[in-house]
């Protein structure tokens, strides 16, 4: 395919994904907005006022970057895993398989679609957080780069999950039993300085800790880890997952007989 045709194919996939999640906005856009508002009210306002400062900021200011990142991570992942698995389930994936779209464009289209939802939710949650606290940005490039790369990484994770899934249960196992615990233990609600030494070490093995802290550094200027190490780790994960996803597409794992 020529370059202009590839571009058309790419934005066709992206627009289709955006059309999908905006069509079912009560399932995709509304729930995270409601959930995050509850977090802000309960953890930020009610409980947070008794906790006091963390990392030199009031508790609400401390958790806002983590909550934004949590929303971006879960929605980037959820969009791709549910959309791609639905296409497999309904066999509408065949529309793509019979067409001349190269595998890398299929992957890029779905990842971008997942990022559109993840980042869109990120913007919604950020706007909602302004009703509860003031946000001043320490480093805009760090904020933008971290949130974009993290969103891309989890969209890739969702894609691999969808390729491997054979039934609907399989697309909820990873978000429920892997993603949610790692996110909650990834420093969204606390600084790992509060943990005993051993658990601080264990926490350093959690990749989400680096993403949350990289983003928190961008907004507040404080972090439990070196923010550039965070970016490096995200990039390495992206390269590895993209390679795995492309290999799966080439072999037709779960989509070709």
């Amino acid at each position: 395919m020529r370059l202009d045709a590839l571009w058309v194919a790419f934005y066709t996939i992206v627009l289709r994904e955006i059309r999908r999640f905006t069509r079912i906005w009560p399932q995709t856009l509304l729930p995270p907005a409601v959930t995050m508002t509850l977090y802000f009210i309960i953890f930020g306002n009610l409980i947070g006022s008794r906790i006091g400062e963390m990392g030199g900021f009031n508790y609400m200011q401390f958790i806002v970057p983590g909550l934004i990142m949590m929303a971006v991570i879960t929605n980037s992942y959820a969009n791709v895993v549910s959309s791609f698995f639905s296409m497999k389930f309904q066999r509408s994936i065949e529309e793509l398989l019979v067409s001349p779209v190269p595998n890398w464009v299929i992957l890029a289209g779905y990842v971008t679609g997942g990022m559109a939802r993840g980042l869109g939710i990120g913007v919604i949650v950020t706007v909602l957080s302004l009703a509860f606290t003031q946000l001043s940005i320490h480093s805009l490039p760090m904020v933008v780069v971290t949130v974009f790369l993290t969103s891309a990484l989890f969209a890739l994770g969702g894609f691999i999950n969808a390729m491997l899934a054979t039934k609907f249960d399989d697309i909820s196992i990873v978000p429920t039993f892997v993603l949610t615990p790692l996110t909650y233990l990834g420093g969204v609600f606390y600084s790992i300085d509060l943990l005993p030494g051993f658990w601080q070490g264990v926490s350093m093995a959690n990749p989400i800790l680096y993403m949350v802290n990289g983003f928190r550094f961008g907004i507040l200027g404080v972090s439990d880890v070196n923010p550039f190490v965070s970016l490096g780790m995200i990039l390495v994960f992206i390269v590895v997952l993209a390679f795995i996803a492309l290999r799966m597409l080439e072999r037709g794992k779960g989509i070709r007989h």
């Binding site: 395919m1 020529r2 202009d4 045709a5 590839l6 058309v8 194919a9 934005y11 066709t12 996939i13 627009l15 289709r16 059309r19 069509r23 639905s86 296409m87 309904q90 066999r91 509408s92 065949e94 529309e95 793509l96 398989l97 019979v98 067409s99 001349p100 779209v101 190269p102 037709g252 070709r256 007989h257």
Partner: protein, 316 residues
Amino acid sequence: MTNALEIEGLTKTYGDGFQALKGIDLHVREGDFFALLGPNGAGKSTTLGIVCSLVNKTAGKVRVFGHDIDTNLADAKLNLGVVPQEFNFNQFEKVFDIVTTQAGYYGIPLGRASDSAEKYLKKLGLWDKRNTPARMLSGGMKRRLMIARALVHEPKLLILDEPTAGVDIELRRSMWTFLEEMNREGTTIILTTHYLEEAEALCRNIAIIDHGKILRHTSKRDLLQQLSVETFILDTEKELSGAPELEGVTCRINDEGALEVDVEKGQGLNTVFVQLEELGIKVVSMRTKANRLEELFIRMVAENAAEARKNMEGVA
């Protein structure tokens, strides 16, 4: 004339060890209307699935308008339109979006895609339903939607896997007319069907596949010439209570109350008419029974099954 499709030594063994294709060779000329016939599980859908990249082949060569799917898959796909057996679109999307999105996958920008979608949705009587979610369409409309989707990028080769399955007779006839028109305009068509009447009415060349092997690959005319008996349907002035006894032919009353007469090739119908006149039976019209191909098909598949059984016994 170039070949629209060339298949050489194609084999497919599934993960469970089942050998669906045992080295088939096939060619379809450009402009042809070609039928791939076979009983359930014969290997028809596997063959077409490989051509359309929905199934990975085990070995062999496939070329679409000369483009090898191993070395030039994108160009092969650009020439192909596919109408699968099962509905495979997103049931929640609107008809127009389904067709224009498919065009986008072929690199056609939205403006041109919209024009092409309008053209084919109008031709297939779906334009009024363009803003309807696909799940709200009737079965026949869904089949037509898949045809419009397959044609939106104007492929030179259209592959249809049982396109009229579960479609009522009126719609089936209108789809035949549409496909014949497409073929006249230059589109090469390959179809699989269980309705042998369909293959007989539409196709010029036919391959019969069974147990992963091509049993026959020839023109419809050659195939039909092998028939030793031809069946004629005679409509009589008065309805007959039973089949008359006629010398030299076998006859019966069919479901419509007409007289069906089996005549040996070369025997002629004169003796039949003479005998009927003697019996006071007046014939008002006559036609050939359309499903002659069905008889041949059943015979070939039965012969193949018998041969397979014999080979199995030999092995045992």
